[in-house]
Amino acid sequence: MNPAREDEARRRGRRQRRLCLLAILFPVVLALASAFGAVPIGPAELWQLFSGAGDTSDVVRAVFWDIRLPRVLFAALVGASMALAGAGVQGLFRNPLADPALIGVSAGAALGAVTFFYFGWQNALGGWLLPVAAFTGGWLAVIVLGLFNVGFASGGTAKLILAGVALNAMMGSVLGFFLFSASDDALRSMTFWTLGSCASAQWSQVLVLLVFLAVGIFLLWPNARPLDALQLGQDQAAHLGVSVLRVRLEVIVAAALLVGAATAFAGTIGFIGLVAPHLARLLLGGLHRAVLPGALFIGGMLLVLADLGARTLAAPAELAVGILTAAIGAPFFLWLLRRPSSWSA
C-alpha cells in the first residue's frame, strides 16, 4: 500500500478517535460540572439523589434538581448552539473570522431585549416575553438582511458579510441610543444582559433550547457535505452539484434559530461561536461531517466549564460568564494555534 494512502487512512482513524473522545468527554464534563457547586454535595449524596434512597434534605434536592442540573444542561445547550451555528456560518462564508453575530442575529436579539428593558417590560408574562422579544429581534435582523441584500440571492458572500457589518452598525447605533437615554436602572439591566449569564436557567428553558438545537442539527447535518464543497468556492460548488442558495438559506436559518434561542435566554455570549469551530477544525480537520459535531461538543463543554467557574470561583457571588469563556477558551486556542502541526501533520 502506498504510504500516502496509509497516512490518509491513519488521519481518518485519528479523526474518528478524536470525535469519539469528544463525544465521551462531553457527558463526563457535564457530570463533573454537576457535581460541583457552592452547595457541597458529596458523591454519596449524589448517589442518593439519583437512586432516591436515603434522606437528602429538601434544600439539597432543590439545589441539585432545580438549580444546578438545569443550569449545567442550559450552559451545555447554549454553548453547543452557539458553536454549531458558528461552524455553519464559518463554513458558509469560508471565513474563519465569521461569527454568527455577522448575520445580525446577536445584535438584533440584543436590540429586542434592550427595547424591553427600556420600557421596563422585562418581567412581563412570567419573564417569557423577554426571550420572545430577543428571539424576534434576532429574526427581524436576519430577515432585514435577507431583504436588503441583493447578494443574498446572487453574488458573493463578501456582499453578505458587508451587509451584515452595516446592519450590525445600524443596530449598534439604535442600541447606543437606548443605552444613552435609558434610566439608570434599565441601563444596568441592559448591561448585565449583554454580559450573558446562565444563572436564570430553568427546566422549561432547557427544553426549549433542546428543541431548537434539534432543529438546528436537523437543518445543518444534511448540509455538511455541501459545506465541504463550498470550501472550493461558490461557483465550483455549484458545478459539483450543490444548490448553493438552498444551502445558504438552510444554514442561515439554522444559525439564526440556534443563536436566537441561545441569546434570548442567556444574553449575548460571545467567543464560543467563533472559537469552538476553530478548535474543532484544529483537532478534526476541515470536513464538516466532523467539524459540526466536534464544534457542538467543544462549545457545550466550553460554556459548561466557563459557567462552572462563574458559579464557583467567587461563590457565593456570581462572575460574568462572558469573562470566563474567553479566559478558558483563549489560552487553549492560542496553544493549539502555536502547535506547528496540530492536524495536518
Binding site: G37, V39, V63, D66, I67, S183, D184, D185, A315, E318
Partner: protein, 276 residues
C-alpha cells in the same frame, strides 16, 4: 449611629424572644443598613457587595452584585429569609431561591425620604423587630425634621448643584432627573442644573456652558484634592479658577441609599450648601 450597647441590648432581646433566629441574607445597601440598625447583625449570614461596606458586615460572605445574584451561592449559606432591595435579580434566581424553601422579601426602592420609613417598617415586620423598627423610624423622622429645619428658612434662590458620578475608565456621569442624586439635591435645598434629562448621562462641557454650578457633589471615594478634581472635569477648569465653585464630598451609600443614614447625610450637605 447606634451605639454598641444598643446593639447588644437588641441582641439579647432577640435571643430571648426566639428559640431559633432565622438566618438572613441581605442585598442592597439600604436594606443591609436597616437590618444592621435593627440589631440583626448576628443573624445575617451573607450580604451583597454593597453591603460589605456596612458596619460589621465586612467579613460576611459576599453574594455578589445585587442584580446578578446566584441561586446556589445564596442557598449554600442556608438562609431562611432573603431581604433584597427592589433592583435585586435576576427575577428567576429569586424564584429558584423561593422554590428551594427560603423566603424572599423584596423591599421596593423609592427616591423619597418618606420611603425610608416604609422600608424599615417592612423589614422590622418580617424579622419580628417591630419595636426596634419603631425606634429607628422615630430616629429617622427626627433626622428628617432636622433636615427640613435646615432647609426651610432658606432665603433667596437655591444654590445650583451638579452631582457627578465617576464610572470606571475615569469618565464622569452627571445625574439628571429620576435619580437618587436628583432627589437628594432637592431634599438638601439645592437645585440640580441637569434637571432637563433623565438618568445619568456622560458629562459634557456644554452642560456648564448654560449654567455654572455653585457646588459639585462627588463621592468621597474620589481621590486628589478639590482643585485637582475640578481641573479634571471638562468645562469646569475655567470657571473654577474664579474660586466660586465648591466641592462637596459625600458617602454615596449614605447619601444615595435612602437608608437610615440618608437624612443626616442630606442635612450635612444642606449645611454645606448654605455656607457663604
Amino acid at each position: 449611629m447606634l451605639r454598641p450597647a444598643t446593639i447588644l441590648a437588641f441582641l439579647l432581646c432577640a435571643l430571648s424572644t426566639r428559640a431559633e433566629a432565622p438566618r438572613l441574607v441581605t442585598a442592597g445597601s439600604a436594606v443591609t443598613e436597616i437590618a444592621v440598625a435593627l440589631g440583626l447583625t448576628p443573624q445575617i449570614v451573607a450580604v451583597d457587595t454593597s453591603g460589605q461596606a456596612v458596619e460589621g458586615m465586612g467579613d460576611k460572605p459576599d453574594v455578589g452584585y445585587v442584580r446578578m445574584l446566584g441561586a446556589e451561592g445564596i442557598l449554600a449559606q442556608k438562609p431562611d429569609l432573603l431581604l433584597v432591595s427592589g433592583e435585586a435579580g435576576p427575577p428567576s434566581v429569586l424564584g429558584q431561591i423561593r422554590a428551594a424553601g427560603a423566603d424572599v422579601v423584596i423591599i421596593p426602592n423609592g427616591y423619597s425620604l418618606d420611603d425610608i420609613d416604609d422600608k424599615i417598617r417592612t423589614i422590622a415586620a418580617v424579622t419580628g423587630r417591630v419595636e426596634e423598627g419603631e425606634k429607628l423610624i422615630m430616629k429617622v423622622e427626627s433626622d428628617v425634621h432636622a433636615l427640613r429645619a435646615a432647609t426651610a428658612n432658606h432665603d433667596g434662590e437655591r444654590p445650583s448643584v451638579v452631582f457627578l458620578l465617576a464610572r470606571h475608565g475615569g469618565n464622569l456621569m452627571a445625574a439628571g432627573r429620576e435619580t437618587a442624586a436628583h432627589a437628594m439635591i432637592q431634599a438638601s435645598g439645592g437645585r440640580n442644573i441637569c434637571a432637563d434629562f433623565n438618568g445619568y448621562k456622560p458629562l459634557s462641557a456644554e452642560i456648564f456652558a448654560v449654567t455654572t454650578p455653585d457646588f459639585v457633589i462627588v463621592s468621597e471615594s474620589i481621590g486628589g484634592d478639590d482643585a485637582q478634581f475640578l481641573a479634571s472635569v471638562p468645562g469646569l477648569g475655567a470657571s473654577s479658577a474664579g474660586g466660586g465653585l465648591r466641592v462637596i464630598r459625600v458617602d454615596d451609600a449614605a447619601f444615595l441609599g435612602f437608608g437610615p443614614r440618608t437624612p443626616s447625610a442630606a442635612t450635612q450637605v444642606a449645611a454645606a450648601l448654605r455656607q457663604p
